[in-house]
Amino acid sequence: MAQDGDTITYTFSGSKETEDISNIDEIVIDRMDGADGGDDAYDGGSGGLIQNATADVSDYDVLEIWVGEAGEVDSSRTFGRSQGGVGGLGGGQGGGSTELVARNTDTGETKFIAAADAGGGGAPGSALQQ
């Protein structure tokens, strides 16, 4: 359970994390980094960045934390609340999205707080030969 004054850094774990915020009225997003897109012959894009944003969460008791996975050159989708796209013909994957969602377990209401979007994947060398 999160307590007043706690500062916590959440890193990629491969699954959604939850935090009990029953005792919390406000969160400060000190820093929220979106995941990188996968590199191939060219670099994947960097993720979006949010710093020092605040949100009133007094009406909610659970915080959903989705930390996106960086893209690689792979045939699977990257993890995130929304998954990144798969690279075709060897191109880099897009990264998965990094997002925060507040939920009230009594009413079932959920509220989107913020997202740092993921970068797109880099192209393979062959794409430039077209």
Binding site: D25, A35, D43, A55, G87, G95, A115, D117, A123, Q130
Partner: protein
């Protein structure tokens, strides 16, 4: 071709576009992939830019506050104090 970054909808696979319109993940264009954007829902203030993680997974740092610390600064102590004795 490369995959699009994600936000809200899944990134497109095997083509160069993201899943949907503005505010979503960066496109994968025919060279370097585009950077992802940002979106604020009930959050406000602060700064939103590109330049998040360029070499890895996402990351979030959050500070939690209860009402005792969200109502503003505590009252300041008086700079001087005098007491009259009867």
């Amino acid at each position: 071709m490369a995959g699009g970054g994600a936000r809200g909808g899944e990134g497109s696979s095997g083509d160069d576009s993201d899943a949907e319109g503005t505010g979503f993940g960066g496109d994968a264009i025919s060279s370097n992939g585009e950077p992802g954007g940002q979106e604020l829902g009930i959050a406000s203030g602060g700064t939103t830019t590109t330049g998040g993680s360029s070499q890895g997974d996402g990351e979030i740092t959050i500070t939690y506050k209860a009402s005792s610390t969200t109502s503003g600064e505590p009252p300041k102590a008086p700079s001087s104090l005098s007491v009259e004795l009867g």
